[in-house]
Amino acid sequence: MKIVIIGNGIAGTNAARFIRKRTDHQIIMISEESWQPYSRTALMYVYMGHLKLKDTHLYEDWFWEKNCLERIQSRVNRVDIHKKQLQLQDGKTLEYDKLIIACGSRPNKFGWPGQSLKGVQGLYHLQDLESMEGSTLDILAAGKNARAVIVGGGLIGIEMAEMFHSRHIPVTFLVRENSFWNQVLPPEESDMINRHIREHGIDLRLNTELKEITGDAAGKVSEVYTNHGDRIACQFAGLTVGVSPNIEFLKESGIKLNRGVLVNEWLETSEKDIYAIGDCAELQQPDSGRRAIEAVWYTGRMMGQTVAQTICGVKTAYKPGIWFNSAKFFDIEYQVYGDVPAVLPAHLETLYWEHPEGRKSVRINFEKNGGAVTGFNLMGVRYRQEVCEKWIKERTPISQVLENLSLANFDPEFFRQYESEILDQYNRQNNTNIRLSSKRSRNQVSRFLSNLGQQSNA
């Protein structure tokens, strides 16, 4: 059997790897972007000089040959579902028995005047990074007037701000909302990041939208106008207002599309033997509380693994489990486990503790009735995923979670632990007297987690 995968991001690569683990099918991966599958989330570190491009490669060069994973660097222009054939950019065709679409996203552009000028771009592909490097020359050439403007208060926006900051380039950061990423982060965390962005000297402008980008005679960006009528001279404008599935080339194919490629719970598209995974897949019936398109590293990885099972004959539904995600905002690491909505629903209560210095916080959400914990939001503190997941899955009451909170702590050894402060705060607010009953210990964690196996088997 011949399996063709369009895209070599984490979803496509993981699908290939897990199919190979179970079978000897022929596997071909096609990517226009990069010969070497690499970690998209690490692009920023290449620009900042933390890493070289080869450090971001998912596997060493010998891996692909050793595992007989064929690669083609080209673009797929058309999918012919009747002939089971792909038309590539160079005019060649490629037959498939099964096709996995994992073609990812592309940055959104909302038709702003000037959005096609030189020096205006998003950040998704390797090529975006290369053009950012090119623009950096222009920015630095401006000397004292050097400035980059970034539009869009999300994860890529703040990454871009950090990237320019690392090269000592002044940044103006336009965010439409009244606080950074507050569609996702609860108010306190969002405000912490506002402060943190500003303490890096970034010119953060909340409640501000892009109105127009203007260019100079050479067609390069020269100014950005906001909806407040402000004019900002700059040599770069980053548009980081989200991404959309990159499915233009499938429009004529007959595969059912909406915003993304529509798939059922087995990640099958409307057409037989064609699957879609990762950023470009749109679930027809997502689990409750989950979005139909989740353009997130982790979901792409899980979808790749799931579709591999199905293709290898073990039909497996995509069950992403308890939601988790992570990011880093300049120096503040962010982890979330479970459901932590930006606006607290009426049936939930929240315990929010923040370090006096304002760069660390822990939030635990739990149900008003019965106290079952539903989610953890961590800023600048590391928690263990398996422990948090287990508490959420088993609907452990908040009091019991707090007693054992040290089990979740994943900060390095000797780091100050804040469990007792968190407990004190809960006790004060609720007139309770909960005490820490366990210390941070790997052995206790092992025992606690192996418990899970026994319970779920029984």
């Binding site: 690490a42 491009l53 090269r167 982790y298 120096d331």
Partner: protein, 443 residues
């Protein structure tokens, strides 16, 4: 200049921006200190050793510390590896090669042409008289520079990782052991006409501590103290090493106590990205390091058998054995390649490919230790920071991205992978409950 952009993609030459005037002044001070050193190195007769020594050490120290403070004072605490991949020094550029050649030349003089160190040894007489009660020799010069490098660049390292208590405490520990146990105590023992003994080095790293010659010399010449020192060495080698490694992994020694580790973790910090992460380097590592260990074990056994048979086995070859080893491994490998080539091969070449102590500790760590690096569920984003900043060349990412805990013989437990991970995925831990499942694949 022409091939750099291909690797880093950087075409904008970002590095030279923003070196402050104060940083430049601090560096100038370091240069003055170096000039003192070079001038005395070149001269036969040192003009006023005390003044020269004070002048050079004070300017070197003040300059280095000042530069370090200036570098980190303006930035918020956190991982700031900005520009590491663009810098000449940390990237095998012109500065890297120059520093490499300079340190290598120093080692060559030190080991084989000590006379060529000229007035440098004489300059250290006042200090040596003060703490050891005797004139300086080239080893004292080396020991002083070595300790100074650990202390000064240790402070720089602590400033860089001021948000990370594991790194801070670990660095205080290596600074303490270097200054106390590898510099002052051996010097004071000499001052009191006792053997110059290093309590923190044991067989098989300090291979001759358990050779018959040394044992006889210590027990015959120093009576009770000599017996104690031999006893100490044996206890450390055969009891402390396995026991402490069972509890904490090899890090208790390699990145907390050992002097080689001390230099690698402080002065060598800028070069940690240069270690080869490839599978083939790992293969080479396993062959080399275990060969050295086997060689030492056989040599030790032969020497004892020979001594027991009163020289009947080896005859006059017995000295040859230890001399060959001393030249090839002690000087060439651990000194010239191990340290001189920091800017070329990375800061742990000796520890990774050559050190017999590391080999032994590694075997315990791999098969019988509570230590592992835990991967936090499925949180890895495969960014590669952990592998890139691993000085031992471990491809940490290859484990983390599969959700697998890391149990590797070579890991010295420096904790930098955990520090640079942007998603909080890695944690150094000790636990006995799942001792044999430490490296198991998650389902």
């Amino acid at each position: 200049m022409n091939n750099q952009p291909l690797e880093s993609i950087s075409i904008a030459q970002p590095h030279p921006v923003n070196t402050s005037l104060r940083q430049k002044m601090a560096l100038a001070l370091v240069a003055v200190g170096l000039l003192f050193v070079l001038v005395t190195w070149a001269s036969r007769q040192v003009w006023n050793p005390l003044l020269s020594l004070t002048g050079s050490l004070v300017t070197l120290s003040v300059g280095t510390l000042w530069y370090a403070f200036e570098t980190y004072k303006g930035s918020l605490p956190g991982i700031k590896n900005n520009g590491v991949m663009f810098r000449s020094l940390s990237n095998r550029g012109v500065w890297g090669w120059m520093v490499g050649v300079f340190i290598t030349a120093f080692y060559v003089c030190l080991y084989w042409f000590p006379k060529m160190l000229g007035g440098l040894v004489q300059m250290f007489d006042p200090l040596s008289m003060f703490i050891r009660g005797r004139a300086a020799d080239q080893w004292f010069v080396y020991g002083t520079f070595y300790t100074l490098a650990v202390l000064l660049l240790g402070v720089k390292f602590m400033l860089k990782y001021r948000h990370n208590r594991y790194q801070q405490i670990r660095t205080i520990s290596v600074m303490f052991f270097q200054l106390g146990f590898s510099f002052l105590i051996p010097a004071w023992m000499l001052l009191m006409n006792q053997p110059e003994f290093y309590f923190t080095y044991f067989w098989p790293l300090k291979y001759d501590y358990l050779f018959p010659n040394t044992v006889n010399w210590l027990t015959n010449s120093y009576a009770h103290l000599g017996v104690f020192l031999v006893f100490w060495g044996a206890v450390m080698s055969f009891i402390a090493v396995p026991v402490l490694t069972y509890f904490f992994g090899k890090r208790w020694y390699c990145s907390w106590v050992c002097g080689c580790g001390a230099l690698a973790e402080t002065a060598g910090d800028s070069f940690r990205t240069l270690s080869d992460k490839s599978l083939s380097a790992w293969k080479l590592e396993r062959w080399l390091i275990h060969s050295v260990l086997v060689f030492i074990i056989i040599t030790t056994i032969l020497l004892w058998a020979n001594s027991w048979k009163q020289g009947a086995i080896l005859g006059e070859y017995s000295m040859g054995f230890s001399k060959t080893y001393g030249f090839l491994i002690g000087s060439m490998f651990s000194g010239v390649i191990g340290t001189g080539f920091y800017p070329i091969f990375g800061n742990r070449v000796w520890c990774r490919f050559g050190c017999p102590q590391a080999a032994l500790l590694g075997i315990f760590q791999k098969f019988f230790s509570r230590f592992r690096i835990t991967t936090n569920g499925g949180q890895c984003i495969s960014c590669g920071n952990c592998s890139t900043y691993c000085e031992m060349g471990i491809d940490v990412k290859s484990y983390a991205q599969r959700g697998q805990d890391i149990v590797r013989a070579s890991c010295v437990g420096c904790g930098i992978c955990s520090a640079v991970c942007p998603r909080g995925v890695l944690r150094l831990e000790n636990g006995s409950v799942d001792l044999m499942d430490r490296a198991k694949y998650p389902e």
